[in-house]
């Protein structure tokens, strides 16, 4: 029999340290739903999602019960809708509404893929879809949206960057009386990945199979607890402990992914090796960094600690799973992480430090509330800065900022649930307007010329 210590360790990880499977995400291709008649296309989309995902939630719950591991979210990602709506030429909002209806029918809490990929320029359908995002997010409940505006291979589409600053603002204005849900469901990417299981940035890339199961794991609490047992260890030992812990966490993800894939009869795609925090006590990435020896997240040394953590998570996780993908790394969403919220409240953590941290972790400026009067061009410039970090470092970066309409820095907004609370962070308001209004493309960097 397995050793008692190991059994109790697993149970302790789940019960006390918030180990969970953050999401089972079913990726569904909608390419075969394209139709020149928008009504027909919508009806095909609805039928396909309801057919493919009919057992997703039920299967997730069965696995949860049998293995005793909580599976927090069951979700769906679909082909970027701009590819589908381009052929129909109608109002893309119709797709948003039908996707929302399908998500409710199959019982998933989010459906991602109201997206457009415009890193090199706008194709048919892209502009219409992007312009419809604020309305789509305001009038639906479960739809998430993302736009890829740059990549290492193509450079950065500055026309799209300009447009997205305006869209984020408009999205906040349209949902200002509804908890600002619009911008919290909108991610602007550089180097977006096609198999990301995490919302709000999940979409099912064009190179993916017809239907696939991707799993995202979580467990910042487990890593922190493991580090708290070695208070005087040197950094090598810390990195080793993180690796060992990440291995165990990922093995659970792999098990759940294989089992879900078998029961649903859908191929297994990837396990996303992520440390995704939640506002729950003991589920914070910031607290891991503090356990490593920082007084508070945001102090000098934070970027180095995060780089170590991110790398060790990948090294430990990669051997535990047969296919690793998605974003894979530590997430730093401010409003969803108790330690980051505290650090932002007393100004130890500022937006510039977060920007530096995004150069070494898995995504980018995530769930950050900014003053409501921040001009669109400043938001665009934040997006451009993040995209530049992603482009030059050949990594995914993203921006999900929330302009808190009617509020100033120092105040707070509450999103509720997994989205948490966010202190509004100060943003440098020196104007980048002329730069943003130039338009055009930032050429692809030398890093792209690998052939």
């Amino acid at each position: 029999m397995i050793n008692t210590h190991d059994i109790l360790e697993t149970i302790n990880m789940i019960q006390e340290e918030n180990l969970d499977i953050r999401t089972i995400t079913m990726g569904i291709s909608l390419l075969d739903c394209i139709d020149s008649d928008i009504e027909k296309a919508c009806s095909k989309v609805y039928d396909k999602i309801c057919h493919k995902a009919q057992n997703l939630v039920k299967t997730g719950e069965e696995i949860e019960k049998e293995y005793g591991i909580p599976i927090i979210n069951k979700r769906i990602s679909v082909t970027p809708i701009s590819m589908i709506s381009a052929a129909s030429k109608g109002d893309p909002i119709k797709f948003a509404k039908i996707l929302d209806k399908a998500a409710k029918e199959v019982g998933v809490n989010f459906l991602g893929g109201y997206s457009a990929l415009v890193q090199k320029g706008f194709a048919a359908g892209d502009i219409e879809l992007i312009k419809s995002i604020p309305q789509a997010l305001a009038e639906t409940e479960r739809i998430c949206s993302s736009v890829n505006i740059g990549s290492t291979k193509t450079g950065i589409n500055m026309d799209a960057v300009k447009l997205m600053g305006e869209i984020v603002r408009e999205s906040a204005i349209l949902t200002k009386d509804n908890g600002l849900v619009g911008p919290s469901k909108l991610v602007i990417f550089c180097n977006a990945v096609e198999d990301n299981p995490f919302m709000a940035g999940a979409f099912h890339g064009a190179g993916e199979p017809d239907c696939v199961i991707n799993v995202g794991v979580s467990g910042p609490g487990v890593v922190r607890a493991a580090l708290s047992k070695i208070p005087d260890a040197d950094i090598t030992e810390i990195a080793d402990t993180v690796k060992r812990t990440a291995f165990k966490i990922t093995r659970v993800g792999q098990l759940v992914a294989t089992e879900a894939s078998r029961r649903l009869g859908v191929p297994f795609g990837i396990v996303d090796l992520s440390l995704a925090p939640t506002p729950a006590i003991g589920d914070s990435v910031a607290h891991i960094l503090e356990e490593m020896g920082l007084e508070q997240c945001g102090a000098c040394g934070t970027t180095a600690c995060l780089a170590l953590l991110n790398d060790a998570v990948k090294k430990g996780g990669v051997m535990a799973s047969s296919h690793v993908g998605g974003l894979s790394g530590a997430f730093i969403p401010v409003s969803e992480d108790a330690g980051m919220i505290d650090a932002a409240r007393n100004n130890t953590l500022c937006i510039e430090k977060l920007e530096a941290m995004t150069a070494v972790c898995s995504v980018g400026l995530d769930m950050i509330a900014i003053p409501g009067d921040t001009p669109a061009e400043v938001i665009s410039a934040i997006i451009a800065d993040e995209a530049a970090i992603g482009m030059v470092n050949s990594k995914t970066t993203a921006v999900r900022v929330i302009p808190a309409i009617g509020k100033k820095d120092g105040e707070e907004i509450e999103f509720g649930g997994l989205f948490g609370v966010s202190p509004i962070m100060k943003v440098n308001t020196a104007s980048p307007a002329k730069f943003i209004n130039r338009g055009g493309r930032i050429p692809a960097p030398l890093q792209s010329l690998k052939n």
Partner: protein, 89 residues
């Protein structure tokens, strides 16, 4: 399939009897039992076989958890594979 039942809590009379009673009621074979006292806490781990179980896993799990609630113990029934995959390469 095989599962692991873990019972953790304050030691008292009848824990083993109650848990193994439910196993026998639903024809779940107990393969191995190990029990110890860890820091004043009673801790029992049972390896069981569900091959001939007369009810569903989920129903059995609910029945065992109900004993836990009744006796203020923390009882979990989990598929063996989660431990295997986490601790064995």
């Amino acid at each position: 399939m095989r599962g692991i039942i873990t019972v953790v809590g304050k030691d008292m009379v009848g824990i083993l009897a109650k848990v193994s009673g439910v196993c026998s009621e639903y024809n779940v074979n107990v393969i191995e039992v190990s029990q110890s006292i860890l820091q004043d806490m009673f801790c029992m781990i049972m390896l069981v076989d569900f091959e001939k179980c007369s009810t569903s896993f989920s129903d059995f799990s609910d029945k065992v958890s109900a004993i836990g609630d009744e006796m203020s113990l923390s009882i979990h029934v989990m598929h063996e594979d989660i431990f295997n995959s986490m601790h064995r390469i």
